[in-house]
Symmetry: D2
Subunit: 401 residues, 4 copies
């Protein structure tokens, strides 16, 4: 393959994205990376926000672009970053989501129980590293947080990393929910490094507050939107029911993961197969199963495909068991299934989000006098103790006529 | 189903789209309409413009929104439009693309030879009309141009209709190619009606010129982009090869259309099956066929899935046969296939676009003195005779190592 | 004058603004309204944000546009609003800022001590009402909060009114500070009315939170930006010094207000003259006074015109008197003026902003069960007690070489 | 003055503009440059497009930003540009409009007859060069086209320079006329240099066409909008009448230029005074003259201030003398002035614009095979011979009751 020296990709969100190194071209051209084209970034959110059909590939290119800007900015402020480190951190961000399976978070821990997507990302990076003559070793060292300049890792994965900045901006753009707009360009301009830790300059405090509030809003308004929640739980139930009744499908790869439950080690030995799975395997199976003799499976599949979604309610208090039972009895009657089977159509659960998780690494503010403070500890902080508590909500999904 | 009285949908392109009539809810909730979620608006353009993954459903909602604005605007100018006509024209625009099959234009005339998507749209509307108690009769009359107020038809389908206005704006938005931006809001404000024909007010001339130039640019820069062209021709060849060697696939619906060649009438009897086909059937078949024993089919499928696309060149002159043959011999050697089979990897063709097609209905400008002129005939017209000629280009696609 | 039936104005912020009633045309065509073209919306903020040169006229047209949307939205929700009320509330919002003098807030209470701009707005409305045959009586009744439907007043002036929504959006747009973007279209869609009070629907909570945080950020990042603060205080000092030394200027109107200190009643008798004052009177006087023999006045004028601004620091604690004195001694030496006069160049002060002022009217959330809660009292509120306290900061301005 | 090392300015159009060299800081801090804050970029266009109040200073900062991007891009393509040349071309673009007087083009040749603003820009640059220790010598050499790398001059002043790219984008942004959007980022990416001449790569053809069409549209829809035209001619007549009747005003600088007619050499000796003139001198004089005893002057001034503008019509044919006379007689009666004086209120003229002026330097397209073609000569060119002819229109302005 003849590799171009420099390629420019149009991104409606960030403008032009420039790729200009052979290693980056190799990563992007690899089938494992191209697979991300076939995984929706926002799973089933498009059932509510029809524009939200962008892909993991698009997001990872966007995060890469923000990384380019961040590296430039830090260099302008005399933070030393070598050419090798620059390349490594760019490769790492391109690959940070490579371990996502079909429908990303919506089916995480369902298709592959017990393995987090970041663990898979790391495995895949190592497999690519072997294929790429160890050109990814430094990238892996940074990705795993072992490198002696933690700020490089923090740019990839932290409370204020380019990953979050891209997905908030991008998801906001494609859903049309303008409240998610975060002024990432200003935040990037405020990035600085002290003691090898990523910091934000004092005058960036308000932008960071805004970032946290935008994230809070996107969670409750979009990611945890009650109809999106219902749709994604229906998809989970489809996989679970298929497994329960040992339904098979034409996608041999999907079949393999449906019919076995691999432990981590076994999973790592099936990376190659995993890297052939994408949203298309799941959706075409759903299309097949619409005609499956099992009524539960067939109904779930027909309903999700035709967007006849379960109704969903969110509230602060737990739902009463008697209410749930009433709904189940009704559903059983309506569908002519057992009350036991009706739990596929009537169920409760809990969801939560934390505006600023204190347990994680802090967002540190560097003041002009050289002092450093956690953003929740500055004067007149918007992000106070209260916002560091997770907000929990209970939901119920049920069938309507 | 409990029908809401009014629903608001977020559209990143137009803002909020309002649905407020039971008939419109019924259309949108119908599985035939929901199927449009699973058809890419721009087929494989996302292989070059990664944001271009929006769907036919999203486009038809957008065109519906512009129709709402157009109707309002014309009423403000005292053009009489009854409530029935308003509903009908909105229903018709929602349904105008319902006849599109998988990958829209890219596979039109390939999967279903000899049947245009508009003919299928009409058939499906009629089938829905039967199901909806004839509530769509007026919509169909307008859609087919038989209604006595031609301007209603022209809003749906003409040189300056809401369909084109939406797709140019939307495709421009999702690709990030800002040159396609067309100021549709201004054009809508300039719409007027005389003698029941849709017209543009005199002061709208420059906006219309800009619209035609934006369309011209989108064609050459995006729709006919050489890499997009190559990818879409590869997809066509996949279908053709599958047919030639009678390859089958797990999607029974796709199989049915692969293995038979229906005439129009037979096709119309298989509308129900057609309405189950979408991009997922094609892509999951492509994934299957990667492992097909036929080397031609398997190679095409692997290459398109992993974005190893044929190289493509466009030029004004025809390509020399000897050049084509050289490329075929090379490809045959490289892939160890016959030169005859190599025509799946090396081929030429012709593509064209007309900035302003004179043969079609005109864009008419209404002057303040009441006179009417074709836009190509006004003083100092940008859109002169020359631009009414189609621009033809020849292309060659070939395999590189 | 021949009045058009309908006029459309291009607004880069909101798109097209439509004017369609003779009374509104009369208001806009009136010299008192046209004067708002010559008053900067953001006083001297353009010295830091060069795009922020938009005018009071532009803002009031924008607020009018949002009012049109709000009225439509409420009507869609069956809130009864008569045609008279609609016209009145539109007239009132157009005129809500008519009482602003040169440089708006920056010189309020300086040029006309003791008279708030809203009091002047009311006086001018009454004077126009007399000229317009009492066509503004209802508008005045709503503006003053006497009308029996308080929500109409709340749309004009409340914690979440169209005034604030327009200025945040507009100031954000023209400064380029994207953090001020507030999703006003979503907030408007969430407006509702209960017991004749303006409310926000439950699902609008996050948008309102975002609005309050955006406002908080715009205050500290833009409106109270230290350099803007310094420039505006310099302008105040120019007026004060001119008054102190009885400097006169060529603008006879400005002279009149410089040389007399009117009480409210006297002021109201000089409304006609007041309505001839604008930014141009002040700036051309500043240009004259650059050559004034008084060194304090001349220096202030030269420095502000040439953007040689005082340096400014903001902090939570009060500044030490000794520091202030040191700066004054230095300034006195540098400019060869007395230490007493140096207080024009070295001074301290206090500024404050409250994210959500509890003392004012509340922002009320209407829940689906019909209950109403102050936004600061809902579960997991971002806007807690702490944010209802004003944030105070001390500033010092001083001369640098 | 303590000079910062790097300063970032918020621009709503381009995002962040970075200034990072002491010479650039000195230019921007100079009173001559700061004066551009007080000159509207679009003269009186804001009377039709209320957002169009941006300044010459803002435009020149924007053009400077595009120059930074262009230099980067060309360097990426291995075009050799030294650090000295980079600084010089940036200084030159910052100063390219420094010679504009009050209301820019609207009063050019009126206040200072016979001296083009570019000639004044050059004089002022030379005067600054003397003050800046010859640091501007190279900038001046480039600005005047004498430097041996013509492409540097072409970036500042040519058919496709950063000046035009900025003002089209900026004027489009502030007026809200989206049709002026030109995709400057794509054009910049297509810039290249061959034989020291600025070229556009082959694949940039459509973007250049779009640029020329956008410019054409902005001329007819905005710059030559009939109401803007009327307003600007009224302003010209105010100056001419003031001169005719030897009216004086409080601005001594304006007085000086009103009462003398300097030849070029005399003008150049009064550069210092010229650099004190701005829009404020003109507007405050207009405000004074509203009360002037001369009825013609007073009426023109009152009308322009209160936006009671003359009516204007544009057409392809010349207006009949008899019509003009009828209007003059009417105006004379209405205002009680002589028919001779009525020519200040009723007058005709001619205006023109060329989409692509062949006489000027060409826009050259560099093809992949190394050949170069004028854009009007490429295959299927939109920009044909016809568009190289100026479009002429005649206008009449007249008084209505």
């Amino acid at each position: 393959m003849q590799v171009p020296k420099r390629k420019i990709i149009n991104d409606p969100v960030h403008g032009f994205i420039t790729i200009d190194h052979p290693l980056l071209f190799k990563i992007i051209a690899h089938p494992y990376y191209q697979r991300l084209r076939r995984i929706h970034q926002m799973a089933l959110a498009h059932l509510v926000y029809p524009g939200a059909v962008h892909t993991r590939l698009h997001h990872s290119l966007g995060a890469y672009h923000l990384m380019c800007l961040a590296v430039n900015e830090l260099r302008n402020k005399s933070v030393p970053i070598t050419a090798e480190e620059e390349l490594a951190v760019k490769a790492a961000i391109l690959l940070h989501d490579i371990g996502h399976g079909p429908f990303s978070h919506a089916l995480e821990h369902v298709l592959i129980p017990g393995v987090h997507h970041e663990a898979l990302s790391l495995q895949i990076m190592q497999s690519l590293n072997a294929a790429f003559n160890n050109e990814l070793s430094l990238a892996i060292s940074i990705f795993t947080g072992k490198y002696h300049k933690p700020f490089l890792h923090q740019l990839i994965s932290g409370q204020l990393d380019v990953d979050r900045m891209d997905y908030l901006t991008r998801d906001s753009f494609f859903t049309g929910v303008s409240e998610g707009v975060i002024g990432y360009d200003r935040i990037l301009k405020m990035f600085t490094v002290a003691d090898n830790q990523l910091m934000v300059e004092e005058k960036g405090i308000y932008s960071v507050e805004k970032f946290l509030v935008a994230r809070r809003q996107m969670y409750w308004q979009v990611y945890l939107h009650k109809t999106v929640l219902a749709a994604e739980k229906m998809l989970v139930h489809i996989i679970e029911r298929a497994r329960e009744i040992k339904a098979s499908c034409s996608s041999s790869t999907l079949n393999m993961f449906l019919n076995h439950s691999y432990n981590k080690q076994e999973m790592y030995e099936r990376l190659f197969e995993f890297c052939h799975l994408d949203d298309y395997d799941v959706v075409s199976s759903v299309k097949e199963w619409m005609h499956h003799p099992d009524k539960v499976l067939a109904t779930l599949c027909k309903n999700i495909l035709n967007r006849k979604l379960l109704k969903c309610k969110l509230q602060t208090a737990c739902f009463e068991e008697t209410l749930v039972n009433q709904f189940r009895v009704k559903a059983a009657e309506a569908l002519q299934i057992s009350v036991e089977e009706a739990r596929y159509f009537v169920f409760t659960g809990q969801t939560q989000n934390t505006t600023y998780a204190q347990g994680d690494e802090h967002i540190n503010i560097l003041f002009k006098d050289g002092s450093v403070k956690n953003i929740s500890g500055v004067d007149n902080a918007l992000i106070s103790q209260t916002l560091s508590m997770p907000v929990k909500k209970f939901y119920i999904c049920y069938l309507t006529e």
